[in-house]
């Protein structure tokens, strides 16, 4: 599998490690009311779709960037690759 890194271009998937669902970026507010239940969901519950899935990948053997990769889990087709930093910044974080 080739991952088209937004900065470095096509890279072998061997250079990456896989973390899982990209929703891990959306860490809940630990000080909010009902944080315990929200954190339980955040920590333990994952969707496992057969089809399009947004995932976090780490370019461990490269520039050490975290990527958000939208991938079809049935065909391994990669639909989009973004720097996780840019995804977070679009949400108004890490500015």
């Amino acid at each position: 599998m080739i991952i088209n890194h937004p900065l470095l271009g096509p890279c072998d998937a061997q250079e990456f490690t896989y973390l899982g669902d990209a929703r891990l970026i959306d860490r809940p507010d630990g000080m909010a009311d009902g944080a315990e239940d929200v954190f339980y969901d955040y920590a333990y519950l994952r969707d496992n779709p057969a089809g399009q899935h947004r995932e976090l990948w780490f370019h461990e053997a490269g520039d050490r960037s975290w990527l958000v990769i939208t991938r079809n889990t049935l065909t391994h087709e990669i639909i989009s690759v973004e720097l996780a930093r840019d995804v977070a910044r679009k949400q108004g974080r890490s500015l």
Binding site: L8, Q14, A61, D63, R64, S65, S94, L95
Partner: protein, 186 residues
């Protein structure tokens, strides 16, 4: 304490050099290596200041640049490695930290890495066996981090050949990988 004899990463008192076919692989312990990571929101200021220090523009993505005395390569977004002659009288990281006030995290990395300078024809064929970088497309001035023999290494292409930085703790393993690959090619 001051009578201790310095050893190179390969454990000798003098840097090791091996010539295999047309390629010469030389350990180079005389270069300091310092990482520079721009602080949040200081990207542009740090890039400008680094260019002034280097005497040439700061390296762009996956680039290596050589200035009059210092060289630098890109390691990650808004992170660079700066390398220059190791001078005990004037520590490179101290100088960089003074020249990049409040805009970057500056860390001396010299003791963590081993540097091998490789010269000669046929380096492309050699690196095809060592890593999955496309050296034919990696023109002069290219810099990438990759894996060589399970070790995370920086590979820099420049006018003098190719330089490999690898973890000092794995210096002998990396050296063995380079030598073994060279023998298999030539």
């Amino acid at each position: 304490m001051h009578d201790l004899a310095p050893l190179t990463a390969l454990g000798s008192s003098a840097p090791q050099s091996d010539t295999i076919g047309p390629v010469t692989i030389t350990e180079n312990p005389d270069m300091a290596l310092v990482s520079v990571a721009a602080r949040l929101g200081q990207d542009a200021a740090c890039t400008t200041a680094l260019a002034r220090i280097l005497g040439t523009s700061a390296p762009d993505v996956a680039q290596f640049v050589q200035g009059p005395t210092l060289a630098a390569f890109w390691s990650a977004p808004h992170c660079w490695m700066v390398t220059g002659p190791d001078d005990p009288q004037s520590d490179l990281s101290t100088r960089l930290k003074a020249d990049l006030p409040h805009m970057a995290s500056v860390t001396d990395q010299s003791g963590g890495w081993v540097r091998f300078d490789m010269q000669g024809d046929g380096l492309g064929a050699l690196f095809e066996r060592l890593c999955n970088l496309d050296m034919a497309r990696m023109a002069q001035g290219g810099a990438r981090r990759t894996v060589i023999d399970h070790l995370g290494c920086f590979v820099l292409c420049h006018g003098g050949g190719v330089t490999v930085y690898g973890p000092r703790s794995g210096a002998r393993s990396l050296h063995d990988a380079l030598i073994t690959a060279a023998r298999s090619v030539f």
